[in-house]
């Protein structure tokens, strides 16, 4: 399909998926698919699909117990996102902003 980091970025790009992930993170125990579904307006199958995407991104792990599948969040892969962003933090306030200023000034001149 696509590389790991893109899977990860795509997983967190969907707002519903971010909400599901968040619900799992703050949950005091692992939640079954049905339990997760009860918290959202979409169907159980819809949740299943999102869970699969999150699982493939490494953000959710599943522990099967009988007929139930207990899902719990794993935030570790977000380190990759953090690392990606970190590279660009050095550009938050410096040269590129200066370039912007430079161009704006040359317009006025």
């Amino acid at each position: 399909m696509q590389d790991k980091i893109t899977k990860l970025f795509k997983a967190i790009a969907d707002p519903t998926r971010r909400d599901i992930f968040h619900a799992l993170v703050i949950a005091t125990s692992a939640l079954s698919i049905t339990q997760i579904s009860s918290q959202f307006d979409i169907s159980r199958q819809g949740v299943t699909k999102h869970i699969k995407t999150l699982e493939e991104a490494g953000l959710v792990n599943i522990n099967t117990n009988g007929r139930e599948r207990f899902c719990y969040a794993n935030a570790k892969p977000l380190k990759e996102v953090s690392k990606w962003v970190e590279f660009y933090t050095q550009f938050w306030d410096n040269s590129l902003q200066n370039l912007e200023d430079f161009l704006n000034n040359s317009k006025d001149a």
Copy 2:
């Protein structure tokens, strides 16, 4: 369409767009659409579309000069991504991992 943060996440979810953004960040000057296109295998129109997405996410600003549109990166909006990730860093090594261990242990018992 969708909320600001989702636009931002979606903007960086596409690998080509991340590449374009990166190229703009490390460029020593603003680049025209044509200049950007020359660095990528997709058509100029394809680049234009990506630039528009990046612009709407606030990651690219454009300075029009005559018939040319000079694009430059603005990394600042990534602060929002950083903030989003930061909340979950507290879960990188603690309780959720413990839950995983707990469940694995109860399987063995």
